[in-house]
Amino acid sequence: VTTTAATAKSTGRADTGARAGLSKLRPRPNPWRRPWLLEGFTWLYLIWSIVPIALAVLFSFNNGKSQSVWQGFSWRWYFADPVNSVLHDPSLHAAVVQTFRLSVYTTLIAVPLGVAFALGINRWRGYTASTFNFVMILSFVIPELIFGVAMFFVFTVLFTSVHLGTLAETLALVTWNVSWPAIIVQARLVTLGRQYEEAAADLGATQLQTMRRVMLPLLTPAIFASAVLVFSSVIDDFVLVDLLNSNVSNTPMSVYIYSQQHGGNGGPALNALGTIMLVMSFVVATAGYLGYRWMTRGERIDRQQALATIAGA
């Protein structure tokens, strides 16, 4: 039966042109032909999106100040130059440390907070729960500038003991990113359903035991994916930290690049800084992808799904 069906299908495909021609008295091109035009367009897009960045990375290794004339390979802007390299310039150095620090702090706070919130909100049905779920999703779409303004005012006018700087930046970044774990874990809870919990309860587990031995292991991939997303969005974040930093010791890489380039002090050292950010993100993304694949190895999740999850789609 299978063979017949397959043959029927393949002849059907081959004959589509012919049949359409009969019915419309006009031959049509094979509708299953390869979409060359679309493929060409996609390649053009990919070249346009990747080549400029590749060039910027390349020029971070330029042995000269130019960003358009290649003067040979060097590590000058990373560590070889005793004054202007990322390693030796204190403000460049501080920017790398600050980005890393903010990413770690934010991930450590936002992920447990968001996961607990998702679990609680998802099971506690009520007016308060749905209101705060709404607020949480709202925090996901609100323009970052407006949220940054709100944070700036609250730390300069109301909670004045939180001075602008690392603490203010971390508090704002946690609020801004807590929706990643909250949304991803809730989505996972919805697909899991309640049967695992009910089975655990039937077998005599207390609620805490169910949480620790059943739910948390089932949620681990989702929690891990959200941690990767939080970490990498903090690396990339600009608006909040731009509004909430107070001096060079708490200025992360994105703000440093912006303020220097904007002030006309651009140069290959900034490209080196950007390349460090890029490498940091890619390390996180690769580790995230591999970790996610490993955690979901028993499930039917293919590579594309894993990639899309790690990117937050």
């Binding site: 367009f41 897009y45 607990a116 919130f117 697909t191 207390t206 899309a308």
Partner: protein
């Protein structure tokens, strides 16, 4: 194990996790397991209340507050009964009154954002469509390439174009050698199209990801059915694929348009002249200028009000689609 014992354990376990400080619910005491969920959600709720809801009330209190006449710092007025309209009238003067300067900026912001978002859609849709439908065995490779810019910092992406667009950069070199221009163009000297290019390049990865995820979910059987029923390629696309991708297009546009409207850094990097100032720059500048912070709060509020409808639409749409997935 006796069933009664298990039930007793369960009750005990449930009571054991009651929050010690006590979240007080006014009605009758809820069953213990509900309190467990309340306790789990409580830290997040308190956090959002203190660091999301209170800050927005602070904007309101500052917008409707006063400005210290000597030092120019804003004075928040928390009691709605004492609210003043000083900052609102100042903002009104900037919009339509004697010192009006904001009208052209709003128009420019809208023109840039509409141009950039439509251009993004025209570029992103075909690419996402190709990868979702036709990439076949190379889908993994295409997906990695499609997602890669998403992982590259916004500032790095801007830096890449600043390098290319410099007067002696590769864009000018390429155009001169092709004899399209006779002498180098100062791309970064305040040209609107450069800013639009920056916006497109900056925000397209987010759009393309949403589009890809939405298009990938379309069941190929529906498209095949369209073909089997005699529709051509174009008509299958218009009658089947396009209606099915309405939702991803809408959410994708929202996810790019909302941040674009508040963008103040792209135009600063790509041109840096007052000729390309956007609404975000007005708010950002007022925030750092003593005496104008109250007005900045007013503009932030108005901006928020203007965007509240699309934002709520997005929240409702996401809720609906997550419920549909369940």
């Amino acid at each position: 194990v006796e069933p009664g014992l298990v039930a007793g354990e369960k009750r005990l376990g449930g009571q054991g996790v009651q929050p010690s400080g006590g979240i007080k619910l006014r009605r009758q005491a809820p069953e213990p397991h509900r309190l467990f969920w309340v306790a789990l959600a409580a830290p997040g709720i308190i956090w959002l209340a203190l660091l999301f809801i209170v800050p927005f009330y602070t904007i309101l209190a500052i917008a409707a507050g006063r400005v210290n006449q000597v030092f120019g710092y804003p004075v928040a007025v928390w009691n709605p009964l004492q609210w003043s309209t000083t900052n609102f009238t100042a903002a009104w003067r900037d919009v339509v009154g004697s010192s009006a300067f904001i009208g052209p900026i709003i128009v420019r912001t809208l023109v840039y954002v509409v141009a950039a978002s439509l251009l993004s859609l025209v570029i992103a849709y075909p690419a996402a469509y190709f990868v979702a439908r036709f990439a076949g065995r190379r889908k993994g490779l295409f997906l990695v390439l499609l997602i890669a810019p998403f992982w590259i910092s916004y500032m790095m992406r801007m830096l890449a174009w600043i390098d290319l667009l410099q007067t002696d950069g590769y864009v000018n070199k390429a155009l001169t050698s092709l004899h399209l221009i006779s002498q180098p163009v100062n791309w970064l000297g305040g040209l609107g199209p450069t800013v639009v290019l920056g916006l497109v390049y900056g925000y397209i990865p987010y759009l393309i990801l949403v589009l890809y995820a939405g298009l990938d979910r379309i069941d190929p059987a529906l498209i095949e059915a369209g073909r089997d029923l005699g529709l051509g390629r174009v008509r299958t696309f218009v009658r089947v694929t396009l209606p099915l991708s309405r939702q991803p297009i809408l959410t994708g546009m929202l996810i790019t348009v909302l941040p674009m409207l508040g963008d103040y850094f792209t135009n600063q990097l790509m041109s840096g002249t007052t000729g390309t100032t956007m609404l975000g720059n007005v708010i950002d500048d007022q925030l750092t200028t003593p005496g104008l912070q109250g007005e900045g709060a007013v503009f932030s509020l108005l901006f928020l009000l203007a965007l509240i409808v699309p934002m709520i639409y997005y929240v409702v749409a996401t809720n609906k689609s997550s419920r549909a997935a369940a």
